[in-house]
C-alpha cells in the first residue's frame, strides 16, 4: 500500500505475544521505513509498548518473526538489538538520578581508555555536543536527579542519540516537554531523517503525529486497525481507528455560573537555590466552579507554585486564602483539611504507593473520615472507595489488588479519587493527562468539567497548548516564575499564549535553560 519511496529497514511479520492471560499482540505486521517517521498510535494497553519492547529486544515474541534488511533475526536482549542499530527512548525514564548527565548518556557504553579507565573528558565533550544538538544548555556534569522531568527527558533522548542508532524508537518523548522543546525535538527528528535514520514515534498527542509522521500504524487490542502513509490522515481518522466507532471528543463545555472566590494567592515568592526567584510574586484567584489552566514552559515555576500551596517550601513567602480565610496551616495534612488537594505531576513517585492496594491508596488522605477515636472502619472505607471507583469509572478487578497492576489512565483516576475523597474545595492538578491514553484523557477531562460544575475550583498545570485552550475557563501563563499573561477563554489565542510563555526568554532559549538547571 505504501509507495516504496522509503526503504524498509525492519519488518515484523505475524508477531504474536502472549502474556499469561492476555494476548498483547495478535499477528501484527509492522514496517519501519528508513529516513522516515513511522508513527505508532493506540490507546494504553493496545500493545504499542509491547511491540516496541519486542523490537528493542526487551521481550521475545511468542510467534512470528523480525526481519532486518530482509533476514530473520532474533534479539535475545537489548544488546543484540543495539548491535543491529536499534535504539529506544523509553516512556518511563530509565535514568540514574545519582549520576551526572554525561555518565547517564554513556551508561553501559562508557568511553574508555584500554577498556578499564573511563575517559570522562571525551564523554563530557560528547555529552555537551549532544546537548547543543538538542539546543539545551544542561551541563554534562549536572546530576540527573536535580533536573526537572522535562530536562531528564532531553537526557534520555540524548542517550538514544549517542548510540548512532539506525532505527530509533521514541515512546512518548514529548509527554513532559513544552511547546518550544517539542519544536526543538522535531528539528532533531528532521535532521535524523535526512541522515537516513528510521524513527518509530509513539505519542498520544494526535496533532503532533500528523505533523511529523510519514507513515502511521494504529493498534487496537493487539491488532492493527489501520496502516498507511500519512497523506490525508486526520485526527478523526486516527481516533476512529483507535477506539472504534464510539468516538470520544473531550472537553464539552458545560455552561454554568461561577460561585464566590474559593482560593486566592497573594504575592507568593519562592527563592531559587541559585539566587533569584523560582516563584516570583505570583498572585491569582480562583472561583468556585472555575477551571483555570496554568500554561508555561518547563521551569516556569508552575510546579513550584503548587508545592508552595501544599506547604512543601517553608521558605516561601506570601499568603493564601481558602474560601475567604487565611491559610496558615504549616503542613500538608492541615492544608488538606482546609479543602486543598493536589494531584502531583509524577504519579509513580509522588502520587501513589505502588505496593499498596487500590483501596489503601485511595483512602490514604481521608482516613480520618472513617475513623472514630482511633478505630478505622474498614467496611465504611471499602464502601466509600467503591463508590468513588464507580463514579470515576475506574476499571479494577478488585480494590485489594496493588495499584501497580493498573494501566496509567486508571492509576491517574485512583490519584484523582484519592484527592476527591478528602472532599476538597480546590483541586490542584499538575499535568493531569501526562502519560495516559486518549480515552482515559477524555474521561479525566470530563470528570474535571463535572467537578467544576459541582462547584469545585480547579487549578491545573499543563504544557499542552490544545489542552489548556479547550479545557480552561481562564488561562494563566507563567514564565520565569512570573505570571506573564492572563486570558479569558473567549479571547485567548494560541499565538498570544505562546508569546506570553516566552517572555523573558532569549530566542535561543538560554535563559530558560539556565533557570531550569538551577532550580532544585
Amino acid at each position: 500500500m505504501n509507495a516504496p519511496r522509503h526503504e524498509t529497514g525492519l519488518s515484523v511479520r505475524g508477531a504474536t505475544k502472549v502474556y499469561p492471560g492476555t494476548l498483547a499482540l495478535d499477528a501484527v505486521d509492522f514496517d519501519v521505513h528508513l529516513g522516515a517517521v513511522n508513527v505508532l498510535v493506540g490507546e494504553n494497553g493496545a500493545g504499542k509498548s509491547t511491540l516496541m519492547k519486542v523490537i528493542a529486544g526487551v521481550e521475545q515474541l511468542t510467534s512470528g518473526e523480525i526481519l532486518v534488511d530482509g533476514t530473520s533475526v532474533t534479539f535475545a536482549d537489548t544488546r543484540a538489538a543495539a548491535r543491529h542499530g536499534i535504539g529506544i527512548v523509553f516512556q518511563e525514564l530509565n535514568l540514574f538520578p545519582n549520576m551526572t548527565v554525561a555518565e547517564n548518556i554513556f551508561i553501559a557504553r562508557e568511553k574508555t581508555r584500554g577498556r578499564v579507565d573511563i575517559d570522562a573528558d571525551t564523554q563530557r565533550k560528547a555529552a555537551a555536543e549532544l546537548m547543543q544538538r538538542l539546543e539545551h544548555d544542561i551541563s554534562p556534569d549536572a546530576l540527573v536527579g536535580e533536573l526537572r522531568i522535562g530536562e531528564q527527558q532531553i537526557v534520555e533522548i540524548a542517550k538514544a542519540l549517542a548510540q548512532d542508532a539506525r532505527i530509533l524508537i521514541m515512546d512518548e518523548p514529548t509527554s513532559a516537554l513544552s511547546a518550544a522543546e517539542v519544536e526543538i525535538l522535531f528539528r532533531v527528528i528532521a535532521d535524523l531523517k535526512t541522515r537516513g535514520v528510521g524513527i518509530v514515534y509513539i505519542s498520544h498527542r494526535l496533532e503532533e503525529l500528523i505533523r511529523i509522521g510519514d507513515y502511521i500504524t494504529v493498534l487496537r487490542d493487539g491488532r492493527i486497525t489501520g496502516s498507511r502513509g500519512m497523506g490525508g490522515v486526520d485526527v478523526s481518522w486516527i481516533v476512529r481507528n483507535m477506539i472504534g466507532e464510539a468516538s470520544k471528543d473531550f472537553a464539552k463545555v458545560e455552561a454554568h455560573d461561577f460561585g464566590r472566590e474559593m482560593f486566592r494567592a497573594e504575592d507568593i515568592c519562592l527563592p531559587a537555590k541559585s539566587g533569584g526567584l523560582a516563584v516570583d510574586h505570583v498572585s491569582l484567584s480562583l472561583r468556585a466552579g472555575e477551571i483555570v489552566g496554568i500554561y508555561g514552559l518547563m521551569g516556569a515555576g508552575r510546579s513550584e507554585f503548587f508545592e508552595c500551596i501544599m506547604a512543601q517550601h517553608p521558605h516561601a513567602t506570601g499568603t493564601f486564602h481558602v474560601d475567604g480565610e487565611v491559610l496558615d496551616e504549616p503542613d500538608v495534612a492541615g492544608r488538606i483539611d482546609r479543602g486543598l488537594a493536589l494531584i502531583p505531576e509524577d504519579r509513580k513517585a509522588e502520587g501513589l504507593v505502588q505496593i499498596m492496594a487500590i483501596r489503601e491508596n485511595m483512602s490514604l488522605s481521608s482516613l480520618k473520615t472513617f475513623t472514630s477515636g482511633f478505630h478505622l472502619s474498614l467496611r465504611r472505607e471499602r464502601d466509600c472507595v467503591l463508590s468513588f471507583v464507580r463514579d470515576l469509572a475506574i476499571k479494577i478487578a478488585s480494590p485489594e489488588n496493588p495499584v501497580s497492576s493498573l494501566s496509567g489512565g486508571n492509576q491517574q483516576k485512583v490519584v484523582i479519587g484519592k484527592a476527591l475523597m478528602t472532599q476538597p474545595k480546590v483541586l490542584l492538578m499538575d499535568e493531569p493527562s501526562r502519560g495516559i491514553d486518549v480515552g482515559a484523557k477524555a474521561e479525566v477531562f470530563r470528570t474535571m468539567r463535572r467537578l467544576a460544575a459541582e462547584g469545585l475550583g480547579i487549578l491545573f498545570v499543563t504544557s499542552d497548548l490544545e489542552e489548556v485552550m479547550s479545557l480552561s475557563d481562564r488561562i494563566i501563563v507563567m514564565s520565569n516564575g512570573r505570571i506573564t499573561g492572563e486570558f479569558d477563554q473567549a479571547d485567548a489565542s494560541e499565538e498570544a499564549i505562546v508569546a506570553a510563555s516566552a517572555v523573558g526568554h532569549a530566542p535561543t532559549s538560554h535563559d530558560e535553560i539556565d533557570k531550569g538547571e538551577n532550580r532544585t
Binding site: N44, Q312, D331, I336, P344, L352, L376, K395, A397, L406
Partner: protein, 355 residues
C-alpha cells in the same frame, strides 16, 4: 482452610490461587513442619513443661520482632534493641537494689509498679532518641541505631562497672517484692510473659490493621514522598515506630531480669539480629511497606522452636547457627517467588477485565 480456598479458583487460572495461598501461608506451614519434625525426632518435645519453656524463649524474641516489624515496614532498621534490653534490665535492677540517691543522705525507693513504669519510659526514651536522630537530624536509621546500640550498652556496663545486679527479690517495705513474678509467674497455667506477649501482639496487630496510624506506617514505607503529599505526618509516624520498638525492648529487659532475678549488663547482645530474622521470616520486606505482625510472631516461633528442638536433639550449636541462616535465606527466596506470583495474578485479573 486450605481445601476451602482450593475450590475458589476461577477457570482458566489453573492452580495459581492455590499455590499463592500456600505461599502466603508458608511461614505457618514451616511452623507446622518444624513442629511435626521435632515431635518425632526430639524426645520429650511434646511435654507441657517443654512448651512452657519454649514459649518463654520465643516470647523474648517475639517482643523485639514486633517492634522491629513496624520499624522495618517504614523502611528503617533498629539495631539498638538488644542494648536497650540490657540497659533496661540494669535500670530495673538498680531501682530495686539502690533506689535513686537524692544526694541528701536519703535514697528514694519505688514500688514495683513505678519501677516497671520507669523502665518502660527509659526504653521509650531511647526509641525517641533514635526517632529524633532519624527524623530531625537526618541520620540514616542504620547509623543512628548503631550509635545508640553502643551508647545503651556502654551505659548498662557503666551502671554497675560491668558487674551483675544479683538477687532482685526486692524489698516488701518499699513494695518492690514480687519482681520475679513477671518472669516466673503464670496465670491459668500460661506464663505471665506469654500473656503480655498476647496483649502486645494483639495491640500491635490492631494498630497495623485497624488504625490510621497503621495505614500510615505502611504508606511511609511504600512511598515516603507520596505519603507526605497525601497528608501523612511522616516524621511523627517514624518517631512512633522507634519509640514502640524501644518500648518492646524495655519489656524484654524487664522479663529477662525478672526470670533470672538478676540483671547483667551484657544481656541482649545480638538479640536485634534474631528479631530482624523473625520479622523477615514472617514476610516483612526489608525495603519497606510490607509485613504483618501475625507473620512476625509465627516467624519468631519458627526460629525459637527450631533452636530449642535442635538443642533437645543434641545437635551441635555450631550446626544450629548454620541451619538458622539457611532457613532465613530460604524464607526470603520463597517470599520473592510469592511476590512475583501475586503480581502476575493481579495482572491477569486486570487483563481479564479487558484492560
Amino acid at each position: 482452610m486450605t481445601s476451602n480456598a482450593a475450590a475458589v479458583p476461577t477457570p482458566g487460572q489453573g492452580g495459581q490461587p492455590l499455590l499463592l495461598l500456600l505461599l502466603k501461608l508458608r511461614t505457618f506451614i514451616a511452623l507446622i513442619a518444624v513442629f511435626a519434625f521435632f515431635a518425632f525426632a526430639a524426645p520429650n518435645f511434646l511435654s507441657t513443661a517443654n512448651f512452657v519453656i519454649m514459649s518463654k524463649h520465643v516470647a523474648l524474641n517475639a517482643f523485639l520482632a514486633i517492634g522491629m516489624t513496624f520499624v522495618i515496614i517504614t523502611g528503617g532498621i533498629d539495631l539498638s534493641v538488644g542494648s536497650i534490653v540490657g540497659l533496661c534490665g540494669m535500670v530495673a535492677g538498680w531501682l530495686i537494689l539502690n533506689g535513686v540517691d537524692l544526694g541528701i543522705g536519703y535514697s528514694l525507693y519505688f514500688n514495683l509498679f513505678e519501677i516497671i513504669l520507669i523502665t518502660l519510659l527509659v526504653g521509650i526514651l531511647f526509641g525517641a532518641i533514635n526517632g529524633v536522630l532519624i527524623t530531625r537530624l537526618n541520620v540514616a536509621p542504620f547509623i543512628a541505631t548503631l550509635g545508640t546500640l553502643y551508647i545503651a550498652r556502654g551505659l548498662a556496663l557503666l551502671s554497675s562497672d560491668g558487674a551483675t545486679f544479683p538477687n532482685l527479690s526486692g524489698n516488701p517495705e518499699y513494695g518492690s517484692n514480687g519482681f520475679y513474678l513477671l518472669g516466673a509467674g503464670s496465670f491459668l497455667g500460661i506464663p505471665i510473659s506469654i500473656w503480655i506477649l498476647i496483649a502486645v501482639g494483639l495491640g500491635a496487630a490492631y494498630i497495623a490493621n485497624r488504625t490510621p496510624l497503621g495505614r500510615h506506617i505502611y504508606a511511609v514505607g511504600g512511598n515516603e514522598r507520596a505519603a507526605a503529599l497525601s497528608g501523612v505526618k511522616v516524621k511523627r509516624v517514624k518517631l512512633f515506630v522507634y519509640m514502640f520498638s524501644g518500648f518492646c525492648a524495655a519489656i524484654v529487659g524487664l522479663v529477662i531480669s525478672s526470670q533470672l532475678v538478676a540483671a547483667h549488663p551484657a544481656t541482649g547482645e545480638t538479640f536485634e539480629l534474631n528479631a530482624i530474622a523473625a520479622a523477615v521470616l514472617g514476610g516483612t520486606s526489608m525495603s519497606g511497606g510490607r509485613g504483618r505482625i501475625g507473620g512476625t510472631i509465627v516467624g519468631a516461633f519458627v526460629i525459637g522452636i527450631l533452636s530449642d528442638g535442635l538443642v533437645m536433639m543434641g545437635v551441635s550449636s555450631f550446626w544450629q547457627t548454620v541451619i538458622k541462616g539457611l532457613v532465613i535465606i530460604a524464607a526470603v527466596v520463597v517470599d520473592q517467588a510469592q511476590q512475583r506470583l501475586q503480581a502476575r495474578v493481579a495482572l491477569q485479573q486486570q487483563a481479564a477485565l479487558g484492560r
